[in-house]
Symmetry: C2
Subunit: 155 residues, 2 copies
DNA sequence: CGATAAAAGTTGCAAATGCAACTAAAATCT
DNA sequence: AGATTTTAGTTGCATTTGCAACTTTTATCG
């Protein structure tokens, strides 16, 4: 079947699409200008930062990530080379890798955030009221919840 | 100065960020599974489709694009190789290239859209009411308008 | 228990992307 | 008109990314 897609919804998607790219491009440009790593590093480091023990397995990291499995392996390679994370084989299951954020990684996370934050503030937040922001969150939460891979199959 | 970024606004950005990736990943996967070209082709072809005479210069195409100058050159190379567009030097200004959508390009655009549309409908639109969609559009229009490169300098 | 299947990551290879340097054409400035 | 600057795109090179095939370790089945 062809799912229905009313014009109102399509227009909303277009706006979201463009908003996303404008903010991200500005943020990436800012990071580059400041000599900081790209957003992909932020996403991974931040996911680790939020995790209990600041540690996740590759597969858990991949959940929230925007990369393929192999892409994540390579990203973690780079983070490890910079000593922002450590990578240890799980003693209980030899297939699993434990990725843990280092103090240095936390520092880099903060450095990236200092720049990224500015991009979000200027390109995005500056144009929205408190009510706008709350409405956006409420509406988009429906999308993120419904499409959360954690809720497989039965919603 | 450090621009302010209230938690409400930050949360809205996070939701937008995740929503975007969920829908795009699903759409790209769908396109790949259907043996169709990626979204980047759609964006370029659609921009041409909307243009008067279905024709734009590289620089105009780059405006709405999510690519660097060089990235766009390469994308257009591929589209040209597939005969989805034609590329002609402007007779009036030898620096300028006119990129024009071919009928074949329109066909491919429709093929991509048939799949992309399904992704948007299922991953995004299905979870939103009419009111949600209208609110999203209204709110995000503030962002897209304010950050439109066409409105340089003075907003 | 031994064979088979499944899961977790990694690697080879090809495609895509960005930055910086470059070419070519037009506009500007004496 | 000739030299300089600006504009529009393209190309070289290095980085990033994804898919598919592979390795290793654990789980499952007869």
């Amino acid at each position: 079947m062809t799912p229905s897609l009313p014009e109102t919804h399509l227009e909303a998607w277009r706006r979201l699409y463009v908003s996303f790219w404008r903010v991200c491009n500005a943020a990436e440009a800012g990071l580059q200008a400041a000599g900081r790593p790209p957003l992909s590093w932020y996403d991974a480091l931040y996911a680790l930062y939020l995790a209990p023990g600041r540690r996740l397995r590759m597969s858990e990291l991949a959940r929230g990530a925007l990369l393929s499995k192999s892409g994540l392996t390579r990203l973690v390679d780079r983070l490890e080379k910079e000593k922002l994370i450590t990578r240890r084989t799980c003693p209980a299951d030899g297939r699993v890798q434990h990725i843990e954020l280092t103090p240095r990684g936390v520092g880099t996370l903060r450095e990236i955030w200092a720049v990224y934050r500015g991009g979000i503030a200027r390109q995005f937040a500056a144009h929205l009221t408190e009510t706008d922001a709350r409405d956006l969150t409420r509406i988009l939460a429906k999308v993120t919840t419904a499409t959360d891979p954690a809720n497989e199959g039965q919603p």
